[in-house]
């Protein structure tokens, strides 16, 4: 075999091998990404994010815990406003307790404390509790929509959807 021929052979060899490995690598990566995608379900069966929470006249001034266990929401009536307060601590996602004697929400995990309004005042919580979208249906029932959040620090609590005037 002459030197040139050997050289050519080598180039040919190299290009076939490159194609092979690139295609093989891409196909394997494709398979892996399919497997990755597989782990994200397309539908889920978690509880409804929207629910009806009775009528406005059901609520007394203060914190109402009726919808806390089923839907994770405190209904709070304060200063003529009714709002739906998230029960998830803004620190690390524990569920604070409502202490009626002290008029505050206290998180058992790291001691964050919130006022009735949801504003944090002690412990490590970085920001106030979130409020959910709340409005009245045509029949006068309260509808809480948990997909829409209102955050105090963004000035969203004044949004007309963040509270009901009662």
């Amino acid at each position: 075999m002459s030197a040139t021929r050997k050289h050519l052979n080598r180039r040919e060899f190299f290009s076939y091998l490159t194609v092979a490995w690139v295609a093989f690598g891409a196909a394997c990566a494709g398979m892996a990404s399919l497997a990755f995608r597989f782990s994200y379900p397309n539908v889920n069966f978690e509880p409804e994010m929207e629910f009806l929470a009775g009528t406005p006249d059901m609520y007394e001034e203060g914190v109402d815990e009726r919808y806390k266990n089923g839907f994770g929401v405190w209904m709070v009536k304060q200063e003529g406003k009714l709002f739906a307060l998230s029960n998830i601590c803004t620190h690390l996602g524990c569920i604070p307790n409502w202490l009626p004697a002290e008029l505050k929400f206290k998180c058992p995990c790291h001691g964050s404390g919130y006022y009735t309004s949801g504003i944090n005042f002690e412990g490590p919580a970085p920001r106030p509790l979130e409020r959910y979208k709340i409005n009245l249906t045509a029949e006068g029932k309260i509808k809480v929509d948990k997909t829409k959040l209102y955050r105090y620090e963004k000035g969203q609590w004044d949004n007309p959807n963040a509270f009901l005037s009662v």
Binding site: E12, Y16, A20, A23, F24, A26, A27, G30, L34, E122
Partner: protein, 958 residues
């Protein structure tokens, strides 16, 4: 062979080439997997839906834009400019306020920090203080004296706490002042900006709909963001095209081992099913056609509570293709269309394919159980009425139908009613006597017309007649037919109310319109019954049969004879001429022998047979034949009490696996449950066609000669009988009120009250006869429980007297038990939501001048001109008001006076207070309410406490 490198089986270059080829192939396959997984039919449907939505929004937007008053908008715009200019002159002031506000905000923030610190200090010290308290208490509890140090500590902490509390409260106070400042300043600032804000508000009012529509339109854009969100692989982040589902906790799917909450994903493709405004689209993009009853948010069956397949059936879990859901086409055209469009084929291996669209109502029964009538389910109700009409429940047990009476008349005393010859010919072919007969035909059908079978059938019919006559009890009519005026009889029969239950020969058209089925169609009666029996029956039906539902019309002897004369004049000569073949003893013995050999050997059977006398043989065959054809299922026959009905139970017919339906060799019958049932109803004997069956195995279900429509509606009612276990919370539960009403409805249906009276819009069949003037027909009962007093009602049902003597149609006297009467009365009471009794003593309490005014009003409105009974001798046109005191409720009477048309549209009672305007403005100052009140009082004041009897002269005051 080419030279290889040492230690090599193949050339490396060749290996590499193969490797490259396979890798590329592999890559292509992987790409295919991506695409295969990504491309799902429902995505295309959803994209189509977005396009439709977009088009709709654009259309709306155009309309809204057209509606906007451009001129006004322009003026407002200039106003806004002016306002801005004006406001900008106040810049200095605004600036000053802003500065102040900034200062206040700063102070608030700093005070918040102080406040927060103090608050935590207070909390911490409170805790310490409580701890010391507890310590002291514990020491005391041990009976010891706490040390001085402990008290000192307590005091120190308390002082500390007190001082912090004081500071905390001071800080809180300061906060309040600061916040008030902030509020004030903000208000001031706003006031300075007032003109601009207000103009803006006005502009917004005009354009807000437009802006909202534009916003919605923006969402339907399919731009690059849309593409990325729905791109393969990244579509787990937040896709817009996704599977939508409804999870129902209160309705379950049967997994045989377990009930599992139903999951319906139909809305993935039927995107707009619950959204009004898409009625004009083709499926799947169409709005549900009955949004106010089904699916709609405010309907009684909202989508999220009722789902889709709970009514439509089918496999709601599935979304991947049109086929897997088990869609089922309505008819041949749709089938052809689907085959072309979706490559549709009949679903295999799916327990519950979708119901045909026209049969969806079948599912109502799943949840609405134990009711006579399901509002809104028109076709289903019709089917159920047909089941009642043809008495399917007699032979086939259906849960919820147990209370129904036997569909056929009792045969206990048959011998005194018809003669044997008639009986045999009738049983052989009921339709040849009366083409409206509801009795089905067992004989001379497609599967038993062979001479050999006919011979045996004739023997059976003869034997049955002998058997029944043998069992028949004697009955002697209490009246003699003395002859009468047939013409007057016809007149009376067609007007007195017979037609509420019976069709009548000579009035076929009207009969068809009424569609009565509670009693037999009166045709050929003269060829059928004994004259004396007929008169007695007409006069007093319960004399012949204690539990008959046929009421007495309180006919005089003359009237009874006249009607009898008419009915006897109806003859079927052709039928009378028929002579039934006599008993063929050898055929009888053959059939009997077949019965005996079923369990015994030939010899034993012969011996058994020979032991019997000739008469015994005939009676034995008669007994067995009545059992074989199940006559006892529809008729009361002595000796068969307690036998279970002959047909298979239909309670769960709609869930029977398709493979268990015997389609035989009937290839033209559609291979589905409803296909089989309908074919079976139309011709039950068809399954025997082309099959050689022995005599005793022939299909026995008789021929009903149903119309296509009847068969279709009955099929729908039957396929709704499924065994889906719906949890209690999912089933329509009757509340106490509804349960009582339902109980009453059963009685009302039993006695066919609804054959004449329309009860709150339900039936009132005979009214079809009075289309021209409803007031000539039986009164429509609207809110009857509100209209009448219960004690009167109770009395009336037992002692019927004429209330509207000018009507030709008569309220008959029923043979009701006390319980039935009570049930009816309470039903009306609960239906109208009324209290039981009216305290009549409290109705009339005159105030000064009222009675005079009432009298004037009475005269002015000329009440007595129609309600003439008791006032003059004119022919009355309205009920006697002297008896209203016991009969009517005051609250209803006032409502009636106010607007009679609202209660009974088309009534002759005039509205004197139309739209609240009195026609007598000078009485009581023209106050309509007061006028009605006094008139009601007046009526009760003059009325009598006595209850009339049937002999009371209806124009009397007593």
């Amino acid at each position: 062979m080419k030279k290889l490198e040492p230690g090599m089986a193949y050339k490396t270059s060749k290996l590499n080439k193969i490797f490259a080829f396979l890798s590329v192939l592999f890559l292509m396959v992987v790409v295919w997997v991506f695409l295969d997984d990504y491309i799902r039919p429902w995505k295309a449907v959803q994209i189509e839906a977005i396009k439709i939505k977009k088009a709709k929004l654009e259309e709306k937007l155009k309309k809204v834009e057209g509606d906007i008053d451009e001129k006004r908008l322009a003026t407002l715009q200039t106003q806004l400019d002016q306002a801005s200019k004006k406001v900008s002159t106040r810049r200095k002031e605004v600036f000053a306020i802003d500065k102040e506000l900034k200062q206040v905000l700063k102070e608030i923030k700093s005070e918040t920090i102080i406040n927060g610190t103090l608050n935590s200090q207070v909390s911490a010290r409170t805790f310490l203080y409580e701890q010391v308290q507890v310590k002291i208490k514990k020491v005391i509890a041990k009976g010891k004296e706490p040390s001085e140090g402990l008290f000192d500590k307590k005091k120190a902490i308390f002082d500390d706490l007190k001082s912090f509390k004081g500071r905390f409260l001071a800080s809180k106070d300061k906060m309040k002042f600061l916040q008030a400042d902030q509020k004030r300043l903000t208000k001031q600032k706003l006031a300075l900006n007032k003109e601009v804000t207000e103009t803006n508000k006005k502009i917004k009012e005009i354009v807000t709909t437009k802006e909202l529509l534009e916003l919605a339109l923006e969402k339907t854009k399919m731009g690059p963001i849309f593409a990325i969100r729905n791109a393969p692989f990244v579509d787990f982040l937040d896709p817009t095209l996704k599977i939508q589902q409804i999870v129902l906790e209160n309705i379950t799917d049967d997994r045989y081992f377990q009930q599992v909450p139903k999951v319906d994903r139909c809305i993935t493709c039927h995107t707009f099913i619950d959204k009004p405004g898409y009625e004009d689209q083709e499926n799947p993009h169409r709005t549900h056609p009955k949004l106010d009853l089904m699916v709609g948010r405010d309907s009684p069956h909202p989508m999220k509570k009722s789902g889709c397949t709970s009514c439509h059936s089918g496999d709601g879990h599935r979304v991947n293709d049109f086929q897997s859901i088990a869609h089922w086409p309505e008819d041949k055209e749709q089938r052809a269309e689907w085959v072309k469009k979706y490559k549709w084929h009949e679903p295999h291996r799916i327990a519950t394919p979708m119901l045909k669209l026209s049969q969806t109502e079948a599912s109502c029964v799943k949840c609405h159980q134990g009711v006579e009538h399901i509002p809104g389910a028109t076709v289903l109700n019709e089917g159920r009425q047909n089941i009642e009409k043809f008495g399917c429940y007699g032979c086939h047990k259906i849960k919820g139908w147990e209370h129904k009476r036997k569909p056929g008349p009792s045969l206990y005393k048959i011998a005194s009613k018809v003669d044997k010859e008639f009986f045999k010919n009738w049983v052989w072919s009921p339709k040849s006597f009366n083409k409206h007969a509801m009795m089905p035909s067992f004989f001379a059908q497609s599967n038993n017309s062979k001479p050999e079978f006919m011979r045996k059938n004739i023997a059976e019919v003869n034997a049955m007649a002998e058997f029944l006559w043998d069992k028949s009890k004697s009955y002697r009519p209490f009246m003699k037919y003395t002859g009468g005026d047939a013409k007057a009889g016809k007149e009376l029969a067609s007007s007195v109310g017979c037609m509420g239950c019976h069709g009548m020969e000579g009035a076929e058209k009207v009969s068809e319109k009424i569609g009565a089925y509670a009693g037999p169609f009166l045709s050929g009666t003269g060829s059928k019954v004994d004259p004396d029996w007929l008169v007695s029956w007409l006069k007093k039906p319960s004399h012949y049969q204690e539990d008959t539902i046929m009421p007495s019309f309180r006919l005089s002897d003359r009237e009874a004879n006249n009607i009898a004369a008419y009915l006897l004049s109806l003859k079927n000569k052709e039928f009378e001429a028929k002579r039934f073949a006599p008993l063929d003893r050898s055929a009888r013995d053959e059939v009997l022998l077949a019965y005996f050999t079923a369990f015994d050997s030939e010899e034993v059977a012969h011996a058994k047979l020979n032991k019997l006398t000739d008469r015994q043989k005939t009676l034995e065959l008669g007994y067995r034949s009545v059992g074989k054809y199940g006559c006892y299922s529809c008729h009361n026959i002595d000796g068969f009490a307690g036998r279970s009905p002959i047909g298979p139970e239909l309670t769960n017919e709609g869930s029977k696996p398709l493979t268990q339906f015997g389609f035989g060799i009937q290839k033209e019958v559609e291979h589905s449950r409803d296909g089989w049932i309908k074919a079976h109803l139309l011709d039950p004997r068809r399954w025997d066609k082309g099959i050689d069956k022995p005599f005793q195995d022939l299909t026995r279900m008789p021929m009903f000669y149903l119309s296509e429509r009847e068969a279709e509606t009955m099929t729908i009612a039957i396929i709704g009988q499924v065994n889906d276990k719906i949890p209690l919370i999912g089933v329509k539960q009757l509340d106490a009120r509804e349960a009582i009403v339902e109980k009453g409805m059963k009685v009302i249906n039993k006695f066919n009250c609804v054959g004449c009276h329309e009860v709150d819009g339900y039936r009132g069949d005979i009214l079809a006869k009075y289309e021209d003037d409803l007031n000539e027909g039986p009164p429509r009962l609207v809110g009857e429980g509100h209209r009448v007093q219960l004690d009167w009602f109770h009395y009336f049902l037992d002692n019927v007297y004429p209330i509207r003597p000018w009507l030709k149609v008569r309220m008959p006297s029923y043979n009701l038990t006390d319980e039935e009467r009570n049930t009816i009365v309470t039903m009306f009471q609960y239906k109208a939501g009324q209290k039981a009794l009216v305290d009549r003593s409290k109705i009339v309490n005159w105030k000064a001048g009222e009675k005079q005014a009432a009298k004037e009003l009475w005269e002015e409105l000329a009440c007595a001109s129609c309600h003439s009974s008791g006032f003059n001798q004119d022919e009355p046109q309205a009920p006697n008001l002297f008896f209203a005191r016991r009969r009517l409720r005051p609250s209803w009477t006032k409502k009636w006076l106010k607007d009679p048309q609202a209660i009974l549209p088309g009534t002759l009672m005039p509205s004197f207070w139309e739209d609240g305007e009195s026609q007598a403005p000078d009485i009581l100052g023209g106050d309509s309410e007061a006028q009605m009140d006094v008139l009601v009082k007046y009526m009760y004041d003059m009325g009598t406490e006595k209850l009339p009897t049937k002999n009371t002269k209806y124009w009397s005051k007593q």
